[in-house]
């Protein structure tokens, strides 16, 4: 009983954060001369109003789910991996290469190999430099993962802008991947591919690893209290490397799914910062794998609905950025909301 109410309360604060953000967003709209009601109606319709929009929302959520899971896994291990963006990039690069350069494979195998390439690339990007540096020199992962993100983005510029991965022609894009590496579309004529199932499966895997395996036990022990973990005989350094590698693998798969399911090639600067939004997704979800799916869906819906809101209500989509910013603020400051809750409760007690 007690556990259940505790969980309910834990969910209440992020929910309130979202609602408050929408409310403040409405005030901002009013102040800039837009009527928030039709705008939000358009936002909702744009995100969920038609099957096509639902599919688009889900498609936009998939990379956020996967990168969000990656960040959540690292957070649970006490590691602030803010480099999911870079791991996403190297995952995309490796997958794209396997997608067009490796031929003659049956589709299932080709997809599997391409996904594996993305996962491995992301894992190495997280584990090799930031993981080892953190484990053996104590260099803070916030710095190193961020730096590796810059390296990854510059690497993609190098590869695509006249580099070895540029397709013939002058456009900075890679060749198309082979059709044998395409993830099948779940809904024709949309961008929603079987990547959705990969994301759902990844959440199951993340949850199983964290809650049901000895590796997850070690990771969480280190995350909660590295001293106690060392006292218990856990190899903190190795666990740190593994955790960052695992985290990077999720982000790498996100990049892979985006290439195999949506873009089918690598574009120069093609991400909208999924790896950064992922941090907020994980924070909003309190690093719970299931909640990460929900939080990713929320942000996917916001970005999908934003375009439609601009299209049909004429409200600049930047206003949705404002709402997202406010959500981030309230999550960062969820102590404020917890405090507001406590206060109102105290009021009631005093009144009673």
């Amino acid at each position: 009983m007690r556990g259940a109410t505790g969980r309910w309360r834990a969910a209440l604060i992020p929910l309130l954060a979202v609602l408050l953000s929408l409310l403040i967003g409405a005030v901002v709209m009013l102040a800039s001369g837009y009527n928030p009601l039709p705008a939000y109606a358009a936002l909702f319709v744009g995100a969920f109003g038609t099957p096509f929009n639902i599919a688009t929302t889900l498609a936009h959520s998939v990379p956020l789910m996967l990168t969000g899971l990656g960040v959540a896994v690292a957070f649970r291990s006490g590691l602030f991996n803010i480099g999911a963006e870079g791991q996403f990039w190297v995952g995309s690069i490796a997958t794209t290469w396997v997608g067009y350069a490796v031929g003659g494979l049956p589709p299932a195998l080709h997809v599997a190999l391409a996904l594996l390439a993305g996962a491995v690339a992301g894992a190495l990007w997280g584990a090799l430099v930031p993981g080892l540096l953190k484990a053996y020199t104590g260099a803070h992962e916030v710095i190193t993962t961020m730096m590796m993100t810059y390296v990854a983005i510059q690497l993609s510029h190098f590869l695509l802008e006249g580099g070895p991965m540029q397709a013939p022609g002058y456009t900075p894009v890679s060749p198309d991947i082979r059709p044998s590496a395409f993830l099948p579309l779940l809904v024709p004529r949309t961008q929603l591919s079987a990547g959705l199932f990969i994301a759902l499966g990844a959440a199951v895997i993340a949850w199983l690893i964290l809650e049901r395996t000895t590796l997850g036990y070690r990771m969480r022990a280190v995350g909660f209290n590295a001293r106690a973990a060392a006292y218990a005989g856990i190899d903190v350094a190795a666990t740190t490397v593994l955790a960052l590698g695992l985290s990077g693998a999720f982000a790498g798969v996100a990049g892979a799914v985006e290439v195999l399911g949506v873009n089918h090639r690598l574009y120069d600067s093609f991400t909208a910062g999924y790896g950064f939004t992922a941090i907020v997704v994980a924070l909003l979800a309190k690093n719970d794998p299931w909640a990460t799916l929900g939080a990713a869906l929320l942000f996917g819906a916001l970005s999908t609905g934003a375009s439609y809101m601009q299209l049909s209500a004429g409200v600049p989509s930047q206003l949705v950025d404002v709402v997202q910013g406010i959500i981030i603020f309230f999550i960062a400051a969820d102590a404020i909301i917890a405090w507001l809750l406590r206060r109102s409760r105290n009021r009631k007690e005093v009144a009673a």
């Binding site: 099957p51 498609a59 002058y170 809904v187 961008q191 093609f270 991400t271 909208a272 299209l311």
Partner: protein, 351 residues
């Protein structure tokens, strides 16, 4: 009359989503004879949707100019227009689809980044017309693409430059009879401008030396500034940039050294009013307006539309007052000669 069938599409999508949910059954095939319930909205008001690329509306270049064309069409042609900005590569298809689904008559996609997306969506919505700016799509009955003969614009600003050098027509020239072109990357759209510029200078002032450098990036103002400073130090006093964001560094360098620059794509005089004497123009606004007008008039033509001096699709910005009128008159004559076909402008660079 434009036929729309969003209800049908929605129905099919719903069906396939349900099927997909039921254990990955094969998606429904299209071809149901059912017709859309919703009749085409009566009347002649043409609805036009514009999808920007990730640069957004404030890019002071293609997206901005396309919107200018749309706004002009709204006031002059009485059409309805709506803009959606893309934040992400994956936004292109949904944004284009949204307009098509809503029964817009024309959907404009700005920039070559959207070529793949336009091909995909245009196939799915054969009753919607599409315009792709700055890349070619051929053989689709509902897609027009706008291409620009930018070498002609390059030729005109080149001729202007050559005449100024020859006549020492501006104050503070170094008298070395030397100018520079700074390109972003060596790609055909850039080289078209450059080829025209080289030919234009040479035609009026054969002894003027034109240095050519590729900076390597389109988004590196600092690098642009350094390259420009080095060119100025070597004696160049007019710098033509074809380098996007990198070019702002070129312009700033010219301004700081008291020499001159020529802008590209849009009129960039506002960046440095004393320095940018003119700009080579790609009239994306004109292209946008013209295609919108053709849709309204029922004269829409699919395939590649070339925009050049004859249809005001390229050109040069009105030179600053310091440039002698005699020179401007001469450039205008050259313009007419190109239109008349007396001058053929090359589109490939001679090294």
């Amino acid at each position: 009359m434009v036929r729309r069938r969003p209800a049908l599409v929605s129905l099919l999508l719903a069906l396939s989503l349900v099927l997909a949910a039921c254990g990955g059954a094969p998606a429904a095939k299209t071809g149901s004879p059912q017709q859309g319930q919703q009749a085409a909205s009566g009347g002649k008001t043409i609805r036009v949707g514009l999808v920007t690329d990730v640069g957004g509306l404030n890019d002071h270049s293609f997206n901005y100019l396309a919107d200018q064309g749309l706004q002009r069409a709204k006031t002059e042609l009485g059409i309805q227009g709506q803009v959606v900005e893309s934040h992400n590569q994956t936004d292109y298809i949904p944004n284009l689809t949204n307009f098509a689904q809503q029964g817009y008559d024309l959907v404009i996609a700005v920039g070559f980044l959207m070529t793949d997306a336009v091909k995909t969506v245009a196939k799915q919505y054969p009753d919607t017309k599409f315009l792709l700016i700055d890349d070619q799509i051929e053989g689709m009955p509902n897609v027009a693409s706008a291409m620009f003969r930018s070498e002609q614009a390059g030729y005109l600003v080149g001729a202007l430059t050559g005449l100024i050098e020859k006549q020492h027509a501006l104050p503070n020239l170094k008298g070395r009879d030397q100018v520079a072109v700074i390109g972003g990357m060596k790609i055909p759209p850039v080289d078209a401008y450059i080829a025209g510029f080289q030919a234009g200078v040479k035609a009026v002032s054969p002894q003027t030396k034109v240095n050519l450098v590729y900076e390597g990036k389109f988004d590196d103002p600092t690098g642009g500034r350094e390259v420009a400073l080095s060119q100025i130090a070597q004696g160049s006093d007019i710098l033509f940039h074809v380098a996007g964001g990198t070019g702002t560094g070129v312009i700033k360098a010219a301004e700081s050294q008291g020499v001159y620059a020529i802008g590209v794509d849009a009129d960039q005089n506002y960046l440095a009013p004393q320095t940018v004497i003119t700009s080579a123009l790609k009239r994306v606004d004109v292209a946008t307006f013209d295609v919108i007008k053709s849709v309204r008039d029922g004269t829409f033509q699919p395939g590649v539309h070339w925009f050049d001096l004859t249809n005001d699709g390229v050109g040069y910005a009105k030179p600053v007052a310091a440039v002698p009128q005699s020179i401007v008159r001469q450039v205008e004559q050259i313009r007419q000669q190109i239109i008349d076909g007396q001058i053929k402008v090359p589109a490939t660079v001679s090294q």
